[in-house]
């Protein structure tokens, strides 16, 4: 399929988009928390993929890891250039009217805290947490996506979890201080 994509065959490109666009979108959405941003990230990821094929520097295998790496770079650049996105509470609130409003607000605040903590991680730590615990990838696949050895990925996971835990703890302490 990848070889056909390198020849820009329409069917191959369509197959690639259909297979990987949900995952790329989810990955972006989980990290960015914004539908429009996640969509933009997904579109840019597939566009960069085509440009890479055109320059002859596209992937020869492990297309999924390659696409997630593009998306990860896009998100990293976004975090560098802009502050973490605000939470669209109204949209989420309307998504599940069965829940009680106070509980929904509390849940969303908690999700926002997690996203903020993830945003404060290093790009590699953020990606390894996302791929491992949200996308549920195997370490070998994560290693391909990060272009790192498996051992380095495990070490990165360890540091990422410690950092995430410390950041969340600090947020809780700040909430107590505020109250």
């Amino acid at each position: 399929m990848l070889e056909r994509a390198q020849r820009f065959e329409k069917e191959a490109l369509a197959e690639i988009f259909d297979r990987y666009n949900p995952g790329v979108y989810r990955y972006a959405m989980r990290l960015l928390g914004d539908t429009d941003l996640a969509r933009e990230c997904m579109a840019e990821t597939f566009s960069r993929f085509l440009n890479a094929l055109r320059r002859g520097v596209g992937p020869n295998d492990y297309l999924q890891a390659y696409l997630y790496r593009i998306a990860h770079n896009w998100i990293t650049d976004y975090y560098r250039s802009k502050p973490p996105p605000s939470l669209p509470l109204d949209h989420e609130l309307r998504s599940d009217p069965a829940e009680e409003p106070p509980q929904m607000v509390a849940d969303e605040m908690e999700l926002q805290q997690v996203r903020s903590a993830l945003a404060l991680l290093t790009p590699d730590q953020r990606q390894v947490i996302t791929l491992k615990y949200l996308e549920e990838w195997e370490n070998e696949d994560i290693a391909r996506a990060l272009n790192k050895p498996v051992g380095a990925v495990k070490s990165l996971q360890h540091r990422a979890i410690e950092s995430l835990r410390r950041l969340l703890r600090r947020q809780v302490e700040m909430d107590y201080d505020t109250n």
């Binding site: 820009f8 490109l13 369509a14 949900p22 997904m42 094929l53 320059r55 520097v57």
Partner: protein
């Protein structure tokens, strides 16, 4: 289960698990993004014929991306442009000079070759280095002449003139050295001149009077070089005087006008001048020496014994009775003990009119009581033993 997974506590697991639930993208948005993606692919499909070539040169892109910086530094770009420009200029000039080193006088790059030789010589400061280079250049000239002869091409006057200039320059450089160094340098000059003379003899077909007259004159000049070197090895001080006279005579001659199409000889007057050891103006043991030089190419005095002998010899450190230290003619024979014969080479070897050539200059000096013969023909009546020398003792003009 890995150690990392174990460390992930339930609370954190729960928080992250809640992030998993992501509402799917609007189907219309998916369709739109898909259409955009495929349209972009079709756009690139138009240029798909370049893909095989790109596949082969893909490593170049990889190489470029490896050194590509995300952050651009304008000053770095300017500096790189300057460095590249200078590199191209100098490498181009250097390549031209290098390519010119094997050129012959009838080739366009020959002026570059001679120019590079002059530049290289001007960069050498030590007399021995200058001598080595000059002798090397004389060898080049002889090789060029041999190449021209081998291809039946005429030997230009510019090449022969340049060779003669280089031969003279070698003598001048040697004259500047101290006595021990000068003797070694003259031996070096002599050996090379002998070899070059033999080469010209071979080119002329072995006979002494055969071949190109220009080559014949060159060979005679080389033989003169041998004679001068031999004499200089025996008498360094006399050699210095001879060189000085040669230089003076050459300066009096009309300047050489080379063929415009051929490079002329460079002016090779070394920046240093020979300083004769000791007083050049003192009386010699016999006072018979003379510094008269009838002219580089002009007819010499055919009968020196008939010329009036100055009361005081101009320079008198001649070691032997009647020894002649003058250089009567450009290609004449060297001095012989007891007598002095001048054989002008330029005029067919016959004796010249002698006193009719008034170009000799008189060198005032101390009184020379010797009884040797002199070739000096005083100008304007002469003033032997004048108490008003035209130049201070010990500060004569140097070659």
């Amino acid at each position: 289960m890995t150690q990392t997974e174990i460390e992930l506590d339930e609370h954190l697991k729960g928080l992250l698990a809640r992030l998993r639930s992501v509402p799917p993208l609007d189907p219309q948005a998916v369709v739109q993004e898909r259409a955009n993606f495929l349209a972009q692919g079709e756009l690139f499909l138009a240029a798909v014929s370049q893909q095989p070539r790109r596949r082969h040169i893909g490593w170049i892109n990889t190489l470029v991306l490896t050194f590509q910086r995300k952050e651009r530094i304008p000053m770095l770009n300017t500096l790189m442009a300057i460095v590249v420009t200078i590199t191209l200029l100098f490498s181009g000039a250097g390549a031209t000079v290098y390519a010119a080193q094997d050129s012959l006088p009838d080739e366009p790059l020959y002026p570059v070759k001679t120019w590079s030789e002059d530049v290289r010589l001007s960069l050498v400061s030590s007399p021995q280095g200058q001598l080595d280079l000059t002798l090397d250049y004389t060898d080049r000239r002889v090789a060029e002449i041999a190449s021209l002869q081998a291809t039946a091409k005429p030997v230009s006057e510019g090449v022969t003139a340049r060779l003669q200039e280089e031969l003279d320059a070698a003598l001048q450089i040697a004259a500047w050295m101290d006595d021990p160094q000068m003797v070694q340098a003259l031996a070096q000059i002599r050996l090379l001149a002998e070899t070059q003379s033999q080469t010209l003899t071979t080119l002329m077909g072995g006979g002494s009077s055969q071949g190109d007259p220009m080559l014949a004159r060159l060979r005679e000049r080389l033989q003169e070089q041998v004679r001068l070197a031999v004499a200089g090895e025996a008498d360094p001080q006399g050699f210095r005087l001879q060189v000085r006279e040669r230089l003076r005579d050459r300066q009096k001659m009309p300047s050489h006008t080379p063929n415009p199409t051929q490079p002329g000889p460079a002016t090779r007057t070394p920046s240093v001048t020979p300083v004769p050891t000791g007083n050049s103006y003192g009386p010699g043991p016999d006072g018979s020496q003379t510094t008269g030089t009838p002219g580089h190419y002009g007819p010499g005095n055919p009968n020196p014994s008939q010329t009036p002998m100055p009361t005081g010899s101009s320079y008198g450190p001649g070691p032997g009775a009647g020894q002649l230290s003058a250089t009567p003619g450009g290609y004449g024979p060297g001095p012989q003990a007891g007598t002095s014969t001048c054989t002008p080479a330029q005029n067919g070897g016959g004796p010249g009119p002698g006193p009719q050539n008034p170009t000799v200059t008189q060198q005032p000096g101390g009184p020379g009581p010797g009884s040797g013969q002199s070739t000096v023909t005083p100008q304007q009546g002469g003033n032997p033993g004048s108490e008003q020398p035209t130049e201070p003792p010990g500060q004569g003009d140097r070659p």
